[in-house]
């Protein structure tokens, strides 16, 4: 229904509350955060201002640039890892499992862990990888190693493993949907025309599943990029990520303007990624009739 004089009162009655809520409690906060990024800090207070000093600091101070680049790297590794584990799993569920009931059951069992406290799932790797954790004790008690190894925990590898573990279900969901939507007759047509299962996979299935790959990868990358739990629980001294920097700026360091600028930077990076992803998605979109 388009807005006309007659329909507007009904619209206003319905929409004014959500609109006010979203404007005041969602849009304005983000706006304020962006503007505080331009304030100056004169210990112990901050003053409204319009200066780029905070951004200059972020981009010039190696402390910050290293962390930002490291976070990008880790997020990329996690995305790749989740994709390598998630894609075969999704493929298996859609194409190899014959019974629909079994498929749904297995799919549910992949998705359910997602909703089980994120914190706990990260925590479980701490108890597995620690020096007196499950893995080490298993290795020692079976005699594979003589003493517990401390290489498993408190490093970037541990972070990547933990985050991959957390994000595999995130990856499987869109992949499952997109693979499930590929009409079986396209695959039958491909095989009918003499192309074997392996090449059919590369030439038919993969291109048609790219939408899901993009969706899952974008979501995983963005969420991994902003994570602060994994570094704290399983990361080491060289494991600080952007989110931890933000924690500090709003905590002990008490530098809200710098923190807001950094948060705005994260916001921009994520928005750009979302835009690219959505462009890629619409550009490659194919109508499956």
């Amino acid at each position: 229904m388009t807005l006309t004089r007659r329909t507007f009162p009904g619209f206003a009655a319905l929409f004014s509350m959500p609109f006010a809520w979203v404007l005041l409690l969602l849009v304005v906060p983000y706006g304020i955060m962006i503007s505080v990024g331009f304030w100056t800090r004169q210990f112990p207070l901050f003053y409204p201002d319009f200066q780029f000093g905070n951004y200059a600091q972020i981009f010039s101070d190696p402390q910050y640039t290293t962390v930002i680049l490291r976070t990008l790297k880790i997020a990329a590794l996690v995305t790749l890892g989740a994709l390598s584990l998630g894609y075969p799993l999704a493929y298996f569920l859609v194409f190899t499992v014959r019974s629909a009931a079994l498929r749904n059951l297995l799919y549910m069992s992949v998705v359910v862990p997602l909703w089980v406290s994120y914190l706990l799932r990260a925590y479980t790797w701490k108890i597995i990888l620690g020096t007196d954790g499950a893995l080490n004790s298993l290795l020692v008690s079976t005699g594979i190693v003589s003493a517990p190894l401390d290489i498993f925990l408190y490093n970037q590898t541990a972070m990547v493993i933990t985050l991959v573990y957390i994000f595999v279900p995130f990856m499987v969901m869109p992949l499952f949907t997109v693979l499930d939507n590929i009409p079986r007759r396209l695959i039958e047509a491909s095989e009918d025309l003499g192309v074997g299962p392996f090449m059919t996979f590369w030439k038919v299935i993969v291109p048609l599943s790219l939408g899901g790959v993009i969706a899952g990868s974008t979501m995983t990358f963005c969420l991994a990029f902003g994570d602060f739990v994994a570094p704290v629980l399983v990361g080491g001294p060289d494991g600080t990520m952007v989110a931890n920097l933000l924690q500090t700026q709003f905590g002990a360091a008490l530098n809200w303007p710098l923190g807001s600028a950094l948060a705005t930077l994260v916001l921009v990076i994520v928005l750009v990624l979302l835009q690219i992803s959505s462009r890629l998605d619409t550009a490659g979109r194919v109508e499956l009739t």
């Binding site: 319905l14 979203v22 409690l25 909703w115 954790g133």
Partner: protein, 262 residues
């Protein structure tokens, strides 16, 4: 079941391995929650319910648990009320800025929670709302709007417009039509998204981290405990949370699926 080719068998093996990988840590958690030892190592020391007793005696933890429940219920209620209203308005009307509004609602779900948390902290500071559970409730409700709006809108879009016209044709006012035709149809989406909201709010960390004051929620309590070192009670409460989450999710999905028979 016909024979699988070699690479398909490899697939099966690999996939089962991934599934095992997904559940292994959770199994560990449950296992060690009953383990009579302060450290989470093999071999297992013996069955005990000691950790469960400890967590039930931990007043701080119980208080945090209670806070989490209250926050989740309030945030879900708010989210549902605002979200369903928004979904109906978005479904029914075309207006300038509609796209923008929809994107704004979905923004907190795509951004790292920490950014949303910071934005809200900044804002509440400006308008004088102190860090507190109230701030957390409002923060959660706002961040989770996208969950409700997207689910309810999707369901609304599938309603046959002609049914709404038929209802009006038969004499029902718009309010009656909503109550007798639209609402029964979207009821399962509302309940499903409410359950989802509840779970997400209960487990929320980044936004909560910035908005809590002296009263904390359970995840925040666990988080601060973890920073100090591992206490095995965490395993116990972890197992309980796992069990409850399983139940809630299965409930939510079965509800969403069964009702969609129209």
């Amino acid at each position: 079941m016909h024979a699988l080719k070699w690479w398909q068998r490899g697939m099966v093996g690999f996939s089962l391995a991934v599934l095992a990988f997904l559940y292994l840590p959770i199994v560990m958690l449950v296992l060690f929650s009953f383990n009579d030892s302060k450290v989470t190592s093999f071999p297992l020391a013996g069955f005990t319910l000691h950790w469960y007793e400890a967590f039930l005696a931990n007043q701080q933890m119980l208080r945090a648990l209670w806070n989490s429940l209250v926050v989740a219920v309030c945030a879900t209620a708010l989210s549902v009320v605002v979200g369903v209203t928004a979904a109906i308005a978005l479904d029914r009307y075309e207006f300038p800025g509609k796209r923008l509004f929809q994107n704004a609602i979905l923004l907190p779900l795509s951004l790292p929670g920490i950014v949303t948390g910071i934005a809200m902290l900044n804002f509440y500071k400006q308008i004088g709302i102190p860090q507190s559970l109230t701030a957390v409730v409002i923060g959660h409700a706002t961040a989770l709007l996208g969950v409700v709006v997207s689910q309810v809108m999707a369901r609304l879009a599938k309603i046959n417009r002609r049914q709404l016209e038929a209802s009006a044709d038969l004499g029902a006012t718009p309010v009656e039509t909503f109550r007798r035709v639209t609402l029964p149809t979207i009821r399962s989406s509302i309940i499903g998204s409410a359950l989802l909201c509840f779970t997400l709010s209960f487990d929320e960390i980044p936004v909560t981290y910035f908005l809590t004051g002296r009263e904390v929620t359970l995840p925040i309590y666990i988080y601060s405990t973890l920073r100090r070192g591992i206490t095995p009670e965490i395993n116990a409460i972890g197992t309980v949370i796992v069990a409850v989450s399983f139940v809630l999710i299965v409930l939510s999905v079965t509800l969403l699926r069964d009702r969609d028979q129209s």
